[in-house]
């Protein structure tokens, strides 16, 4: 129906300026007020970051680069989604997925990735409704060992 672009999550967290505001104009799915965040990440650690809300200091989301979880991970954006992000062909977006830990199991939501325009820092949570991905794709277990040796 409309032109679709398939993209791979090929950009890591280093592409985003630290501590500049990322805006989700419509919030996240089911959370319309979750709009303004900064990405906090360790300079040496590109695997995991934290999206910290600047509206609510109690709100933070752990995020990862889904390509580290699933190397073939692909996101399809509709022409409208691309337009609302203001994406140009030459400007691939940053793709992050949220991370949860429940009873020690670390999972990531591959159905609802966060797509960020690295230039404008406008962002959108898209829902890959027709994909085979899950909202709780296992990454691994939180190690309870304090000393692995």
């Amino acid at each position: 129906m409309s032109a679709r672009a398939t993209l791979t999550a090929s950009i890591d967290l280093a592409q985003l300026d630290r501590e500049s505001i990322i805006t989700f104009p419509h919030g996240l799915v089911g959370q319309p007020h979750w709009k303004h965040f900064v990405l906090l990440s360790d300079e040496d650690e590109q695997a995991v970051g934290v999206l910290q809300s600047i509206d609510d200091n109690q709100l933070s989301l752990m995020v990862t680069n889904p390509l580290l979880v699933l190397p073939g991970y692909r996101v399809e954006l509709s022409a409208d989604e691309q337009a609302s992000l203001g994406l140009e062909q030459s400007q691939p977006p940053v793709v992050l997925t949220t991370v949860s830990i429940r009873d020690g199991l670390i999972t990531t939501n591959l159905v609802g990735p966060l797509i960020i325009n690295p230039r404008s820092r406008v962002a959108l949570q898209v829902v890959l409704a027709e994909s085979a991905y899950t909202t709780n794709h296992p990454i691994g277990w939180l190690s309870s060992e304090q000393d692995s040796k």
Partner: protein
């Protein structure tokens, strides 16, 4: 909840911009056609709930920084904090 009965090919209008049409009924499945502006996201309810819950779960997950700090303290390595730089120092 507003409850309406519709036959195949009949429609509902929600606001000025959204039209939902019953395209057909096959046993216990109803096929719906939805005309809405593209900026309006239309999702199956189950998927909406799954993603909403995943967002809530992510927000409820604290980065395990505190548990790592606690583990370090339990291990008697409190002086190491001085090297890392405690955030409230």
């Amino acid at each position: 909840m507003l409850v309406l009965s519709r036959r195949p090919e009949q429609s509902l209008v929600v606001g000025d911009e959204i039209t939902i049409t019953v395209l057909g009924i096959d046993g216990d499945r109803v096929r719906l056609g939805i005309d809405a502006p593209r900026r309006i996201t239309v999702l199956r309810h189950e998927i909406y709930v799954q993603v909403k819950n995943a967002n809530a779960a992510a927000a409820a997950t604290q980065p395990p920084i505190r548990s790592i700090s606690a583990a370090l303290r339990d291990a008697g390595q409190t002086p190491a904090q001085a090297q890392i730089g405690a955030p409230n120092s």
